[in-house]
């Protein structure tokens, strides 16, 4: 197949994945899958708050104990998130450019609201994640958390979480953001399969259901912690705040 086409085609796999429409789509799906894996794992970690202070602080310490490996994982996740966000923004800009004149009368046939708001749900979640990191990981917003220790002298992340979610404002923002994240995933999880070529008319409906199930499970899992704190099902060791 030799045509006179003077178009330059990408020369390597990374180039294919970052320079062509289909490649970018595949890469978005792959990085989305990594992010989804993180979101799921993070939920499992969070739920340990409900078991108790000891369990959760042990879990936190184990993570911290990974040392250099933790930084490798963090770097990997950050890269995946970064690529996912960067591609999302780039694709959106290209998509806007692809239709310079809008329809006066536009209707939607079957595209879900979630699919049409991916960029917005995605960007809001990003802003939340930044706050969330500043809040609990870097602790810039609440430096007082840094001094909390438990009876074994470990960093008391359990109390930090309870204290954090005791603020209705923070909990509300958290719930909203997690809700949007799950809404994002209600399209994203099914979309991921399609982008990776793993779809058929028979599976299309099933994947949609699967995506919604995943979104609901994640939302329930994430919401459990702040809700438990606000309902005082989980509290500080002393029983008071």
């Amino acid at each position: 197949m030799s045509t006179l086409s003077t178009l330059k085609q990408p020369a390597s796999l990374p180039a294919h994945l970052t320079q062509t429409s289909v490649g970018k789509k595949i890469l978005t799906a792959v990085t989305g899958f990594i992010a989804f894996g993180f979101v799921f794992g993070h939920m499992v970690g969070n739920l340990q708050v409900l078991i108790g202070q000891d369990q959760y602080n042990t879990y936190a310490e184990t993570l911290q104990g990974l040392g250099a490996l933790l930084w490798v994982i963090r770097g990997f996740l950050l890269l995946a998130f970064g690529i996912h966000i960067w591609l999302g923004i780039q694709l959106k800009l290209e998509n806007w450019a692809a239709r310079p004149v809008a329809y006066k009368n536009e209707t939607t046939q079957q595209a879900s609201l979630a699919s049409r708001t991916m960029i917005w749900t995605g960007l809001i979640v990003v802003s939340f994640v930044i706050y969330h990191l500043l809040h609990f990981t870097v602790r810039t917003t609440n430096p007082e958390y840094a001094d909390l220790t438990d009876s074994l002298g470990r960093v008391d992340v359990h109390s930090m979480v309870v204290l954090g979610f005791s603020s209705y404002l923070i909990s509300a923002f958290y719930l909203l953001s997690v809700g949007l994240l799950c809404y994002h995933l209600s399209h994203g999880v099914a979309s991921m399969f399609q982008s990776l070529g793993l779809n058929s008319p028979k599976w299309q409906k099933r994947l949609d259901v699967l995506a919604w199930l995943a979104a609901i499970v994640l939302f329930a899992g994430y919401a459990a912690v702040p809700v438990a704190v606000m309902l005082k099902l989980v509290s500080l060791p002393g029983g008071g705040i």
Partner: protein
């Protein structure tokens, strides 16, 4: 004018082989010195342009559609014949040849038809290699169906979209050559005239339909693959823009036009629903296997079909042709429908329709079986008419469908103008007075893939590369004439739209030169058409200007040519005082109403030569000799 068919001598099965050897060749290294213009990108044009480019010639290809993929070959439904004998049912090249000559009612050229049957087998191979998804059996081999006029299963098909798939195959081959730079494609470009240099066709003048720009293009030969002229009836199963202009312009430059009166009327189309109707849609003939055709016995019947008792229905085909019944051949069924409607017994709002009733079949076999057999056709019928054919009978009526006539060509597919080749439906050569089902696709691809690429090479080798440029006096003169004609149409600024003239012409043609023709009607039409033409040139209203996309202007040029062409069609029908195939002269029929051929007097191709505006064209006759097939009367008893 001398019409030399240049048919090779020798046994029928060896003629093409011998001719291929006798033809001159162009050395591979010299091919790039030659350029061919191909007008039209359907099955014939698309396949020819691709094949010529593959050989190494330079090709310029033109189509008026916005893409070569949209040519009207795409609409063919049923299939394509080929003498593969994959079914082991006794098919052979000779049988396909014989069926085609007989189906054409012995009015085609034997040698051309035999070659068509010979190369039919190559077409299927070629299309499969291109990735055309023909229907297959579970064992993985190709599937066949049977079709009218044949007792063997030799029709290959791709669902109900065979034409589409074959065209997309040719289009993919063409696209590949465009990508390689061997074909320069000019879409949205309409040919308005052919240019002769020293008596040879060496170029064309075209109008870019998007910008209005008129320009000249030169080449060493011109190939017309511009389809048929069924739209002379205004309403037909052809696409809206199908037209006779390219062929008619060539005729005006001296190319003979052969057998224009051979037009095929298909019996099962969805009837006209009102004056606004713009086109007719074909329903597969296979429906007649299970449907019963009837009209009310009484004139002016107003009751709904279901309320008319059995005793008051006239199943006229079953009555008149007890042995064939509803499966009577195309021309007989079409004419019978016309008769009962002319008697005032037609159904539907317009009175031009007959019932095709599935109630009996549904009662006998059950709705699921009928749905299984015809579901997609029933859906299409409902989409267009809004009626549910499972509940009420379908209404059908015949419609103009295919034109066997066309520019006269010799065995090389070259017209009497040297260097002007005509292929596909645009020529007259292979179908005689009637075309069999699934043979149009076969002919288009045979011409384009396997005949023209050889014969055009012989012409090139004989005359040599001329490297003509499109700026000579011959080109300027034609360009000027084209622009003058356009200016004239734009300046009339009368009171009637182009379409209104086209509709009026269509009515004249349909009534007098349609399914049944007679002397009186044809003479009447020959009075009316020139008068209509005169009114057109005085009173047509074409808005806009020439330097932009202008659909009325495009259409006006086409209708103007139809207004002249229709007259020639009537002349031809009047001249042919016999009935043969689709040409039915009411004066010449047997007692049972069958076509009555007159082989002694009319076994010839009528080739008409232009003599000047408003002058009667001259008739030239190419006598048809049947060396291998015995002339016989077609019988459906």
């Amino acid at each position: 004018m001398k019409l030399d068919a240049k048919t090779p001598s020798g046994p029928i099965a060896d003629k093409w082989e011998k001719h291929k050897f006798d033809m001159k060749l162009v050395n591979p290294a010299n091919k790039r010195k030659y350029k061919a213009i191909v007008v039209g990108s359907g099955l014939a044009g698309g396949s020819a342009a691709a094949s010529l480019a593959e050989l190494g010639y330079n090709v310029d290809c033109f189509c008026f559609q916005d893409s070569p993929r949209r040519a009207h070959s795409i609409a063919a439904q049923g299939g394509i014949n080929a003498a593969k004998n994959y079914q082991n049912d006794g098919d052979s090249v000779y049988r396909l040849f014989y069926d085609t000559v007989k189906g054409g009612d012995f009015r085609s050229r034997e040698a051309n038809v035999h070659r068509l049957a010979e190369v039919s087998v190559n077409i299927i191979d070629q299309c499969v290699a291109q990735g055309v998804p023909f229907a297959r059996e579970y064992g993985g081999l190709l599937s066949n169906r049977s079709f009218g006029g044949a007792q063997v299963s030799r029709t290959f098909y791709a669902r109900g979209q065979t034409g589409q798939q074959l065209l997309l195959g040719a289009y993919s081959a063409l696209s590949r050559q465009v990508g390689l730079g061997n074909v320069k494609m000019y879409p949205r470009t309409e040919m308005l005239d052919v240019v002769l240099v020293d008596g040879h066709a060496k170029g064309i003048v075209v109008r870019n339909l998007a910008t209005g720009k008129v320009s000249s293009h030169a080449a060493d030969a011109v190939v017309l693959a511009t389809g048929g002229y069924g739209n002379v009836f205004y309403l037909s199963t052809n696409a809206m823009a199908c037209n006779v202009t390219a062929a008619f312009r060539a005729y005006k430059k001296g190319a003979a036009f052969a057998n224009p009166c051979y037009t095929q009327i298909h019996p099962t189309c969805i009837p006209v629903s009102g004056d606004y109707q713009s086109k007719l849609t074909l329903m597969s003939e296979s429906l007649r296997n299970d449907g019963r055709i009837w009209v009310p016995k009484a004139e002016g019947e107003k009751r709904a079909a279901g309320d008319i008792p059995e005793a008051e229905r006239d199943y006229y085909l079953e009555r008149k042709y007890p042995s064939f019944g509803n499966l009577a051949p195309r021309d007989i069924s079409s004419r019978s429908a016309k008769e009962v409607c002319d008697e005032g017994r037609g159904v539907g709002d317009t009175g031009f329709g007959v019932y095709l009733d599935f109630a009996d079949a549904i009662g006998r076999l059950g709705e699921p079986v009928i749905r299984e057999r015809y579901g997609n056709l029933f859906d299409m019928y409902e989409r267009i008419t809004g009626e549910n054919p499972y509940k009420t009978p379908m209404r059908i009526y015949p419609a103009s469908h295919y034109t066997m006539g066309g520019l006269w060509v010799d065995y090389n597919l070259e017209s009497n103008i040297p260097g002007l080749f005509v292929i596909g439906e645009a020529n007259f050569s292979d179908h005689g007075a009637n075309r069999l089902g699934a043979s149009a696709l076969m002919q288009g691809l045979a011409d384009g893939y396997f005949v023209l690429p050889y014969t055009i090479g012989d012409y090139f080798a004989r005359v040599g590369a001329k490297n003509i440029q499109p700026d000579g006096a011959e080109f300027k003169e034609v360009e000027k004439a084209v622009e003058e004609r356009t200016r004239k149409m734009l300046s009339i600024n009368g009171s009637r739209s182009v379409d209104s003239f086209h509709k009026e012409l269509g009515k004249i043609m349909w009534e007098n030169c349609g399914m049944g023709r007679n002397k009186q009607g044809l003479e009447k039409a020959l009075q009316e058409i020139p008068a209509l033409r005169e009114r057109f040139w005085k009173d047509v209203k074409v808005l806009g200007d020439n330097s932009e996309m202008n659909l009325s202007l495009e259409n006006a040029g086409r209708v103007a040519d139809f207004l002249e062409f229709g007259e020639m069609m009537c002349l031809d029908a009047l001249d042919r005082e016999e009935s043969c195939g689709a040409h039915f002269r009411e004066e010449y029929q047997t007692e049972e109403g069958e076509a009555l051929r007159n082989d002694k007097k009319y076994s010839y191709v009528a080739a008409w030569e232009y003599q000047g505006n408003d002058k009667r064209p001259a008739l030239h006759k190419e006598n048809l000799e049947f060396e291998f097939v015995k002339l016989a009367t077609r019988s459906y008893k």
